[in-house]
């Protein structure tokens, strides 16, 4: 496909813990097309942040990519040298971290940090670019002279996003950028990200544990559980008819402010220890629909209508044969 921007195949990340490696990301496939908004959701410890770090090649020991490829604009990032990667970062893809509060240098003004980023690349950037990107995210350029502590939490997150936009990259990877904000600020940031995306045409990978947050913003949704993709498809399709019991559980986990009040149960139990995942399906010990095959057979991703789901209830035909 010509507009394929990012192609992740069989990506596996292991944490070396001494005795037995912990597989935090297990053979994950992910496609992102130009201008697409992909949401990645799952509980803490499901490997979603590790996946992001692996895509951006930001993993540090003891985590390491032990298999698979990450092709970005046709180039494999996994085998790329650090020097080439540095040139790509910020310019072609950028990462917005979870706590932008801590990602900004407290003793440098916002403007100085923008200039640092620009200086690290050979790309010519107009002098007014920092002011321009700040205006894009709705911050008065006067704050180029401000220090991070002078900005509110929401403004700091916006400043981080502005920094990610300096070179107008093709892909922005966001790791729970709104988790430290409250609802109104969160909502306004989401709307703004979406608007900027429409305006500038970059693609977004958006990681969050709150499925409801991305419901109106993402085109595709990836649901992760215990290091694996358990469901993948168009966001609307997943929300309307989740095919994996885990996605269904996540959807039923938060109350609504509209409609009748219904008792909710959430998902019982806790996510498995990845050092010794349960046999068969990894969700099986917590699954309300588990049957006798579940602990025996490890499910693949199966095509169910418009979505793919890793659940034996949907066994028809595997999406693809895996040889590796």
């Amino acid at each position: 496909m010509p507009d394929q921007l990012l192609e992740v195949r069989d990506l596996t990340v292991e944490y070396d813990t001494g005795d037995r490696p912990v597989v935090a990301v297990d053979r994950v496939d992910l496609d992102v097309h130009a201008g697409e908004f992909v949401g990645v959701v799952g509980e803490s410890g499901c490997g979603k942040s590790t996946l992001l770090f692996a895509i951006a090649q930001l993993l540090s020991s003891p985590a390491a990519i032990t298999g698979g490829t990450v092709r970005f604009q046709g180039q494999d990032l996994v085998t790329m040298t650090e020097k080439k990667l540095s040139a790509l970062r910020w310019r072609d893809f950028s990462v917005v971290m979870q706590s932008a509060m801590n990602a900004l240098n407290p003793v440098k003004s916002i403007g100085a940090q923008f200039r640092d980023t620009i200086r690290a690349h050979d790309e010519p950037v107009a002098d007014e670019r920092p002011a321009e990107v700040l205006r894009l995210v709705g911050i008065d350029p006067i704050h180029l002279n401000s220090y991070p502590h002078q900005l509110s939490g929401g403004m700091r997150q916006r400043a981080m996003i502005a920094m990610a936009l300096l070179f107008t990259p093709d892909l922005i990877i966001m790791d729970e950028p709104t988790s430290a904000l409250d609802v109104v600020a969160q909502r306004s940031l989401m709307v703004q990200i979406k608007e900027l995306q429409k305006q500038l045409g970059f693609a977004v990978i958006f990681v969050t544990h709150d499925m409801s947050l991305v419901s109106h913003f993402s085109d595709k949704l990836v649901v992760m559980y215990a290091g694996q993709v358990v469901e993948f498809g168009d966001t609307r399709a997943v929300f309307d008819a989740p095919q994996h019991p885990y996605s269904a559980g996540l959807l039923d986990a938060f109350p609504s402010i509209r409609g009748p009040k219904v008792p909710l149960t959430g998902i019982p139990g806790t996510p498995p220890n990845l050092a010794s995942p349960p046999p068969g399906c990894r969700f099986q010990p917590r699954c309300p629909k588990a049957f006798e095959d579940c602990p025996k057979i490890e499910p693949e991703l199966y095509q169910v209508g418009a979505v793919q789901a890793r659940c034996l209830l949907n066994v028809k035909e595997p999406v693809q044969e895996r040889t590796s």
Partner: protein
Amino acid sequence: MTSTDVTETGVTESAATPLLEARELTRHFRVGRGFGRQMLHAVDEVNFTIGRQEIVALAGESGSGKSTIARLLAGVYKPTSGEILYQGRSTSTYRSRKDQLAYRGDVPMVFQDPFSSLNPAFRVSHGVLRSLKLHRPELSRAERFEEAERVIEAVGLSPAGDIMNRYPYELSGGQRQRIGFAQALAHKPKLILADEPVSMLDVSIRIGLLNLMAELRETQGVSFLYITHDIASARYVADRLMIMYAGHVVETGPTESVLQNPKHPYTDLLLGAVPDPRAPLSTGIEGDTGEPPKVIDPTPGCRFRWRCPLAIDRCHSETPLLRVLGKNHEAACHVAEPDAN
């Protein structure tokens, strides 16, 4: 506000006396020094009551003063002015350590962050046993262990004996927060102040803790002040909802009444911001960046007026007070219309 019938001794236990009442509760903080000294009005003249076995949700954005209220009620801060009446008696009249201890045992607090509120160097039984020793000295050592097992089981952790001997790092965030509730329960409390107890937890386990609060209300007969910025979860557990903005309570009423028929424009804004996949994407709050208001040396007038789409001249000169606009439903807004009937 309910009229009170406090006697001179102040210990009436009549049904008409609310469990806890805040009257004109105010807390200011000094910021800056010398000529730059200013006053930050964190909580300004707030009135509310909490009944027995009632769950009251206090909602608002960060910086609105909700946590300050919890800390005032817990006795961490002293009010700048106003008072807190507990079972009809003002907490400022507590002189003896015995009185203060009894109040703190009756009104414990559960904190937001279960990862930093438990001491990592001790087993989880440590906190529960210590508060039992402090607040219920009549129990023998064996009885304390029995009681600790009881409360740990009451919060849904079992087997209690095994859980008690674990260290905090061996528990998940949800389990740790349950230990926080167990510690609070150990003193046989009347009112638990829960300050954003689920906001640090995964969405999938939040609901379990909300269910736990509802269950503890039934089985242990406690009331809750549930502080949150998540209105949907407030709706799920709370009987009554109070909305705070910039140190003022701007709207209060039965949860459903406030949600179905919000009177204050800020409540409207909050409701519009709640992500809800079951509903179409609402519009109308675009452009509002959710910047928290500054309440340093405020001038008279509504504190929401700069963000308010409905503001009129009067809003800039006169601070609106809570007015009754529906059944048990009050809002502090010059523009809001009362119910038709």
